[in-house]
């Protein structure tokens, strides 16, 4: 009770600030979507390259791993002198860099998991390497790639809050404002909406995965 304040105050504050909350929520969605989309656009090709060219695997995973280890607040401010303090580019560079390791590793793991027999069969049927990649190997790697997308999305939704320190941040703005005004309700709204957004995004990705990979359902049905 003490944690969230009285339910009445909660409701009143939300309804009187609905416009602000919704626009911050929308900003949060945009920052997340851009970061995951850009992250995927970088990591998928890189993942395929790292999987094919064994010598590049270690360096690529090493570099993205180092980016992943650098703390979010620190990374934001390390790129800020180059991309500008308080710019959306700064926020996105930091957010994207977190998705890279997760997406890259899952892409490689997914491609690695394609059974050798499947590869032999595809070559035997006369598939060119490129066609095999697109028609056989990538589709079979998709469950792992989707797992990576889900982890990356949930992580980014949380990290977007931190970008409030450089004037972005979506719902993170509520959290900072609430802290400055010593106002628990505002922080709780930011926290709850952020968690809900992560849950909804995760559920959406599961839905997309189910729809786009119908054979997975057939497989689990057959097993059961």
């Amino acid at each position: 009770m003490a944690l969230i304040g009285s339910a009445g105050l909660f409701g009143t504050w939300i309804s009187s600030n609905e416009g602000m909350i919704l626009s911050l929520l929308w900003q949060h969605v945009q920052l997340t979507a851009i970061a995951v989309a850009v992250g995927a656009a970088i990591s998928l090709p890189l993942g395929v390259v790292a999987w094919r060219v064994h010598g590049l695997r270690g360096p690529l995973v090493g570099v993205t791993g180092a980016l992943y280890v650098v703390p979010s607040v620190a990374l934001l401010l390390l790129v800020a002198p180059i991309t500008g303090f308080f710019s959306i580019t700064t926020a996105e560079v930091a957010l994207v860099s977190y998705t890279l390791l997760i997406l890259l590793r899952n892409t490689i793991a997914g491609l690695d998991s394609v059974p050798a027999q499947v590869h032999d069969a595809a070559r035997g049927m006369g598939y060119s390497p490129a066609r095999e990649l697109v028609k056989v190997q990538l589709p079979l790697a998709m469950p792992s790639i989707f797992a990576g997308l889900r982890v990356a999305t949930v992580t980014v939704v949380g990290l977007v809050n931190v970008t409030a320190f450089i004037g972005q941040g979506g719902l993170g703005q509520l959290i900072i404002q609430g802290f400055q005004g010593d106002f628990t309700t505002e922080i709780a709204v930011g926290l709850v909406l952020s968690v809900l957004l992560a849950g909804v995004a995760d559920a959406l990705l599961v839905g997309v995965e189910r729809l786009s990979l119908p054979w997975l359902r057939a497989q689990s049905g057959a097993r059961a």
Binding site: P71, V151, V157, G158
Partner: protein, 256 residues
């Protein structure tokens, strides 16, 4: 270039290396906070994960709780805790709020990795141990936990790196650590100080990651140090999702 030389000047200036608000003291408090949270999380996470993995119950709950915990932004949690009257009136309110938040951040990777490690022990090995007359506690302590060790250590590494990195936020709620430079710099619009702080935090996180990786390898019995490709990716940030994704690879290899 000028900016970089200012940062280098800040980092090498003698004034920033002595005294209660200098780099060594701030680094020490960052490591103290991190150690408290990670040690507590390893104790709780390994015990709970081992019991759940041994009994085989609760996989649904464990995996979902860990995924849900990932969605809670530490940034919101630490601030929410810090302004609660019960915590705010304590003398060390920043440390308390930060430790609780870092603990919440560190438990999921340790718990899920322990669970997956113990659960993933080959059923044949388990049957052999039981057939040799081992009691359930012996099975857990002498067979399951040792076999799960690499995964448990990977979980501890992930937890430690995330905690050391995120402990930066404690400075925002009044626990001075390396984050102090970042937030002071932001507040007084001193980009040099902010950048220097960010640089220090990043360096510390990378060092902790390397130490945990090396320590983990040293603690793993020689025969279990896998050099397989799949195992290498289990290191940093390993969790149930990726572990599950990696399974088919090892299964395929076994089939060959």
């Amino acid at each position: 270039m000028n900016f970089i030389s200012h940062v280098a000047q800040f980092l090498t200036s003698g004034a920033n290396w002595t005294g209660p608000n200098a780099i060594p003291a701030l680094l020490a408090s960052q490591l103290k906070l991190s150690a408290i949270a990670v040690i507590a999380a390893v104790l709780v996470g390994v015990c709970a994960g081992a019991l759940l993995g041994h009994s085989g119950r609760g996989s649904f709950a464990v995996i979902n709780a860990a995924n849900a915990a990932r969605a809670i932004p530490s940034f919101a949690l630490i601030i929410l805790l810090a302004i609660q009257p019960a915590i705010a009136r304590l003398q060390q309110s920043g440390l308390v709020a930060a430790s609780l938040t870092m603990f919440a951040l560190a438990v999921p990777p340790v718990l899920t990795n322990t669970y997956v490690g113990v659960r993933g022990v080959d059923p044949a090995v388990r049957s052999a141990a039981l057939a040799m007359g081992m009691k359930p506690t012996q099975l857990l302590r002498q067979v399951e936990l040792p076999l799960a060790l690499p995964l448990i250590l990977a979980g501890a590494r992930t937890a430690a790196v995330e905690v050391v990195a995120t402990a930066t936020l404690a400075a925002y709620v009044g626990y001075p650590d390396l984050g102090t430079y970042i937030f002071t710099g932001l507040a007084i619009n001193n980009n040099v100080e902010t950048f220097a702080g960010a640089f220090l935090v990043a360096a510390v996180a990378l060092v902790v990651d390397t130490l945990m990786a090396t320590g983990g390898r040293a603690l793993t019995p020689k025969g279990m140090r896998t050099t397989s490709r799949a195992a290498r990716y289990r290191g940093l940030g390993a969790d149930v999702t990726t572990v599950r994704a990696l399974r088919p690879a090892s299964a395929a290899k076994a089939a060959k």
